[in-house]
Amino acid sequence: MDPLDFGSLAHIRILLLPVGPIKRSDFEKWAYEIRSFENIRLGDIPADAREERARFMPGPLASGHIHLSFSYHSLPPSHALLSLFRPSDFPLGVIGIASCSESHAMSSIQSQFSTLVKNTFQEGSAYPLARNCFVFEEGENDANLGTHAGLVVIPGMMGNKKLYVGTLLAELCSNILAEFATVIQALESPLGNEYLNAALFPVLPPASDMPKPIDNDIPMRSSLPPLPHQSSQPELGTPVSLLRSKIPTPLITKRNSSIGPGPPTSPYRQASLPVQSSKKKLATIGAVSSHGRLFKMLGDFFLLAGRTMDASVWYNEAIAMLKGSQDNIWHASALEGLAIIPILDAWSAEKTDIVDGEKEPWSDTGTKLSQAIDLYYRATPPSDTESGYAFVSWFYSRAVLRYTTLLYAIWSAKGWGQLAFATLLNTGLGVFPPTLTNGAPSSQNAKRSSYGAFERLTVATGITRGLIADVLAQVHGPWLLHLGPNERISILEHTAAIYGILGYQRKEAYILREVLGCILDMIVCSRDETGGSRIAGAGLGIQGVDMGGTSQGSVGIRANDSTEGNDSILKLVKYICQVHGVDLEAIKFGSASGRPASLPSQGIDGDLDVPQEPFGWPELQIGIVREAIAVAEALPDYPSVAQFSLSALKTLHLVMSQGDQHHLFNTASKALSTAKRRGDSRYIEYWSGQPVVSIEILPLPLVRLPLEKPMSLLSREDDNVPPVLVGMTDPFLYNPRRLTAGQGVMLLVQKEAFDVVITLRNPFVFDLELSSLSLSTTGVAIETKPLALIVPANSFHPVTITALPLESGQLTIRGCVVQAPGGASKEFLLPLATPDEEARQERRHSTMACENGRSKYFGLEARPWERPNHRTSVYTQKADIKFLQCKIVSEQPLLRIRRTSLTHGAVMLYNGEKSSIRITLENVSALPVDFLHLTFDDSTVAPAQQALTEGELSVFETYETEYDLIHRPLFVWDKKKSRQLAGPGEKVVLTVGCFGKLDCTSGTIHISYAYCHRSQNHLETPPEVFHTRQLSYPVLVTVYHMLECHGLDILPYTPDMIRYAGDDNKAGHTQTSLQVENIEDWCIFSVEVRNTYGIPFEVTFEADHRTSSATALVPPGSTTRVLLPLRRFRLSEEQITQPIPTLSDRQFVVAKSNLSSQEELVQRELFWYREELLDRIRGSWKETGGMRHGDLSLRQQRLTLPMLDVLQSEDIRVQLSVHSYSGDENPAAVGSSNASSFFPPLDEFVYLHAEVVNLSSKQFTLVLDMSISPSEHVLYEGVLSGIPIGRIEGRSSRKYEIPLTFVACGRFDVTATAYIPGQKNSAGHGQITVFVE
């Protein structure tokens, strides 16, 4: 039993020693057998017949026990001074355990045993008092081994060895008890008493100093002559046997009245009175010292002998004497002895009888113990002996622990009972109290009991944890330094254990730090390495400690360290740190064998970016971590050093100073390299949080980017929708799918490298080195090289990794595999930031944020790793995590632009000029190109499209804009004409038409190409898509504005104009003659062309498919009017009432115009006629003296209503003519030079012939009015006005004739107007001029 245990004062310690050649397992087996005897009943002790030795022997029917404790070690020699003060600490008996099979070995065993005992114990030491050697016979042979003195042979064949061992032990105890008497005899002599009182910690007087007995023939030890006569027994001169028979009687009666001896009451006082007298007598004899110490020793021995009543008598006596003499330490020791007697009694009684209601049964013991503590505390050890302080501190601490153990045992046993006694006397602190384990086997989890369990014990016993801790706290103080290392460690260990069981983890950690300090100090100092100064420099938690001198550099010779026990020390370190909220195992050791075994992916939820509220005391945490690292360095355990450093960095870097971070990081890297050098097989897992912030695939350059197109596109050769309006073919104004279509999967090409940009984060103040960084992918195989890099301190660092996909298919980039130098690699997953994922993250963040700032749990329950245990509402829905995905398409051909016909990629054009560009493409890949398609873009497209999409334009403007986009593109390319195949290495020439469009500044030619007709296995389903690549060729366009048209006009032919038309020819214009056959059918188209450029241009207008044309030279800066006869035309009613069309298939936008229907009709009419006009008139220009030519657009011009009237041929035409009838009934026009002038003779009967022609397809009912002026010179028959014509069907005519005669010469104007009755406006009109000569 441990000397610190409560009952150690009443335990006879027996040392077990292995003797001779004995196997460890055998020794342990037999030792276990012997150790199972924890106590021996007094009745079993064989009595010694000799009287002087029978003093401590139990009475014949005594009830009680001798308690035994066994140890394997003797006390250190320095403790020899305590042999009389505290005999229970010493091994009073020695048992050698030997195993033997042959008889001749017996003698050697015997000699070995005696030398062993001699070596173990100091020369002249009082103990051991008895010895025995058990020789356990081996094998089955029952050879008689004979008997040797001092040896007991236990035959192997003996059945019940245990019983025999018990008997032997009882015998040994009997011997010890007998020897007690001898010791006391020596001390009872005056000289012995002097020795006893000579020093604070006296020793037994050596035999030589003892006065020789008077009769020399009696051996010294066996009889000290004066003692029986003047012993300190109360009844002087009475034999011991008498004493034994007499004393118990009054005591038993006393016990009935009160528990415990207490201060000696009346009967005993009377008994002790003679003692005083004997003391006086002693004094007169010459011994000046009191007998207090002697009485205390008697008490000690009686206590050991199990005779508690005697012991309490003697203790009380001793206390009474020592109280006066200020012998504090002996006094306290006697109090301690007295204090445990009730516990022994209660244990022996095996029943709990709590009689006293108001006083707890242990209060008396407690009081005595606290008195003892106080006495020890105030004791002043003699300063001359160095060990004095150590011993007093030792006893003080033990007294405190004894008191604490008492309280603790009662508390943990739920009160005064057998369980408490067993704890106090037998088990000690080694066993976790069953009341706190809830019946479960004491596992690691059950170690920390709940608050409720503690409180239950407190309520049951009335002892609070605070009280126990309060008592225990007294043990801790500077005096611990007085103690020797072993004692200090055991005291501190006990203290820590009690704190631990009480649930006071922080205090436990505090004490454990001291334990560690002791142990490591011993480890370091015992090393032969120049005083351990190597370790001193390693940095400690406590600053300002003197580190001692620094060692000089020398060649170190390293012996193989024993690593036994290192794990336990590290366990302690980790536990201490854990209590302070630092998880030193935040970073685990990776497996050594499976080196590249990247740990299971936990990167998604493992590391939180949410700033969790810190736990603990940063200053302390850092100090403790530094100490932990120093401990690991001192052991040395380099992987642990690295583990601790990195774990601390990971968990504490937020509160750590820069210097500390640097220091820890350097320590870790040094330790890792050292561990590696020494062949340590452990690897540290990756430590630095989630380093990967983002992963992006760098988009391929445009020339390499494949675009996915459906296969059906190939078959649809003719696109109805012009590509320019592609953006507007969508029938919906808002199409949500268009947005998502843009974010399709990224396409990469097989066997073409792509770049991935990884953004890494380093939250630390030092540069973080990564020995390997590679992509973690699933799907198709890729070829990539791991990257070693250094992430700069406290920054985000983008890194580009190049990878080469080896096959086509789906590629998923899950994250990164990161490896720190000397560590294991770890995979970090980075889910795609989809809305789902973001929502999930958001939920988690808000959960954390919600908990932040609220302290639902406090203290140790708030430690970071405790938190998840408390949370019961956990979001369990497992969201499917999406990763960055891309599609690898099969190999693609690659074209490049070899050359173009343009210089510097620029083209200069006149407005409306047509030109062409030649582009030579070269296939630089090994695959053929069998599809080629060109699309174009220019700077005018986007604004126009923008205007169209905005929808603010009127219908007419919309049409104009769309027309411009569709029919007048900058570039044109005839797909049919050019070759579309290019084998590997071949060249293709493309010719692109180019049109000078005003306001255009740049254009782009997009060349899409693909290899779509691949050979494939027949069994495969043909792919639904193919991939194109695009080459873009930007062209800088300059368009000069040189000719502009304005002043468009349409003029009618009048008869006068015809007459003078011939004169116009002499004006020198190059235009064609305006002569027309029938002026009714024609009109004159007129437009002004201005040349704003520096050179002259020749302008040509053609009408009606080159039936007529006019050409004019426009000099620079001048304006030329061009006239052109134009055949009038009429559009059908259905045609002109059509709404203005939109050229694209755009969704119809409700017209915003608020025109009336009439106005709208007019607008439509104008529109359609203008379209027809522009269709008929073609303008073109030519550079004079040059090759350049182009179109002249009239689209800027507007058509007005008067112009329309002229342009539009009428519905009904009245054709007038003057006829004369000659003999044959055929009328003949008279003297008409043309259709509009007649020359009838004077005074002759002629006929005015009016033909009303309905040119339209409708039928009209008409009335005709005619007038001839001057009318007084004309005679006619009938009426001229209101002539009913009747109904005229469409495309038919009706004739009407009036006979008349001109009665005067001169000119007559004849007009005829046809009108529909009831309508004011004339429907048709006719006019002729008549000249009468």
Partner: protein, 180 residues
């Protein structure tokens, strides 16, 4: 005589620390055992032990003129923090049973007596002192509490924000001067 005040958040993190030297004399009742201490090892770990067991401050008590300057800094500061932290065990135990905010002399360790004050928000004010001064400490704690509550009125101040306000510091010091 020195006092050490710590304001600890519910997660045991100190939000404010104060070391106050009082002019009042210390009644020295240390054990004779605490004297005449050996220096038994020069290793750094022994230094840890010396400091933690309170031996270094015990030594200082014997040469007060040189020692008082070192209190509050160096290894003593660490030990004092350790003691304050360790006393939380007892404080947490007691505060669950006692219905009081002011827990006077709740713990003793080495030469220090620990008094504590637990606010309703579970903030713990821990004061390490050497002499008994219950009423003064109570008044001091009430003052500190009031000041703390005023600080907490700041909406940006959570239960885990360290208190760096100079005004708070000055007022706590004034209060300490008054009562301790």
């Amino acid at each position: 005589m020195s006092h050490h005040l710590f304001l600890l958040s519910p997660s045991d993190t100190p939000l404010y620390e104060l070391t106050h030297f009082s002019s009042r004399p210390v009644q020295n009742v240390s054990s004779p055992l605490a004297s005449n201490l050996p220096s038994w090892s020069t290793s750094a770990f022994a230094g840890t032990l010396t400091a933690l067991s309170g031996a270094s401050s015990a030594n200082q008590q014997y040469n007060p003129q040189g020692g008082s300057a070192r209190i509050g800094g160096g290894k003593d500061r660490h030990v004092i923090q350790m003691v304050a932290n360790a006393s939380l065990d007892v404080i947490e135990d007691v505060m669950r049973k006692e219905n009081l905010m002011y827990l006077k002399s709740v713990d003793k360790f080495n030469e220090w007596t620990v008094s504590a004050f637990v606010t309703p928000g579970n903030m713990k004010f821990v004061l390490l002192h050497e002499a008994r001064n219950d009423e003064g400490i109570k008044s001091f704690f009430m003052d500190v509490w009031e000041l703390y509550v005023k600080t907490m009125l700041n909406p940006f101040h959570t239960a885990h924000t360290p208190i760096r306000s100079a005004i708070f510091d000055a007022r706590v010091r004034a209060s300490a001067k008054k009562y301790l």
